[in-house]
């Protein structure tokens, strides 16, 4: 291993960081890697993504529950940011649980790891296809659901949730499917 910490810009990872995850250097996170705990993390991540996407229903909530005061709007905003950071935290734990295999470059993985990573990307691609299809349907039916109104939220939480889904899908699939990581 070279002393220089190589940065893989396209993957958003560094050589040292990836190697640290691939080995058991950080033994304090070993408990995360049991199949049961990985699956719990998958469920938590999915709940987080769904909750973040529900932020885009604010205009509906505002209309139905008469959220008008600044305090109510502040509570809503703080809650939304809190949920986003919780989801981000769950995603970080998920990456550690799967040793960062989904984001690792070929040269740092062995042939089996490359195979399971590529396989998880294939399923993630299919899953993202359904998510994009769902978003397209929302574009058609959104106005009827009173979403994407200029006042309040314009669908940005849905965009944030989609980014979470896009970034975490391969790791979610890896975490769920693999027996040992």
């Amino acid at each position: 291993m070279s002393k220089k910490n190589k940065i893989y810009w396209s993957l958003g990872v560094t050589e040292k960081g990836t190697r640290a995850l691939l080995t058991d250097e950080n033994s304090k996170f070993k408990w995360l890697r049991s199949q049961r705990n990985r699956r719990v993390l998958v469920v938590l991540n999915l709940i987080g993504i769904v909750l973040v996407s529900l932020g885009s229903y604010y205009p509906v909530l505002k209309t139905n529950f008469n959220l008008n005061t600044e305090t109510e709007i502040l509570i809503y905003s703080v809650t939304a940011i809190f949920v986003i950071f919780l989801t981000l935290g769950a995603y970080s734990f998920l990456r550690v649980a799967v040793r960062g295999i989904a984001d690792a470059p070929d040269e740092l993985l062995d042939e089996r790891q490359i195979q399971v990573r590529d396989s998880s990307f294939r399923y993630a691609y299919l899953a993202m296809g359904y998510i994009v299809l769902g978003l397209l349907l929302l574009m058609f039916f959104g106005p009827e659901l009173q979403m994407f109104q200029p006042e309040g939220n314009d669908g940005s939480y849905l965009a944030i949730a989609t980014m979470f889904a896009f970034a975490s899908a391969p790791s979610l699939i890896l975490a769920w499917r693999e027996r040992d990581i």
């Binding site: 691939l22 993985l109 062995d110 042939e111 089996r112 790891q113 195979q115 399971v116 396989s119 027996r179 040992d180 990581i181």
Partner: protein, 78 residues
């Protein structure tokens, strides 16, 4: 995960490795893979590439045909 799910590849890696007093981590370091991959190989859940099979046979000082086969070998046969 076998490369060909219809035709499993059996191996003697675990028996030979333990007979030689090597841990999974030590064998993994010798052949340049993660130690979990050795576990997958030993359980027959992953079939190695030809390159990896040759590296393992070299590390264990055995012929590839002694390590891998298409028919199940009796345990203890080395």
């Amino acid at each position: 995960m076998s490369r060909n799910s219809e035709e499993p590849v059996f191996n003697q890696i675990e028996q030979i490795r333990t007979a030689q007093g090597l841990s999974r981590q030590e064998l993994a370091d010798l052949v340049g893979v993660h130690y979990q991959t050795i576990g997958y190989l030993e359980r027959g859940e992953y079939s190695p590439s030809l390159v990896l099979a040759l590296r393992i046979s070299k590390a264990l000082n055995k012929e590839v045909s002694e390590l891998f086969s298409l028919t199940e070998q009796k345990k203890g046969k080395k």
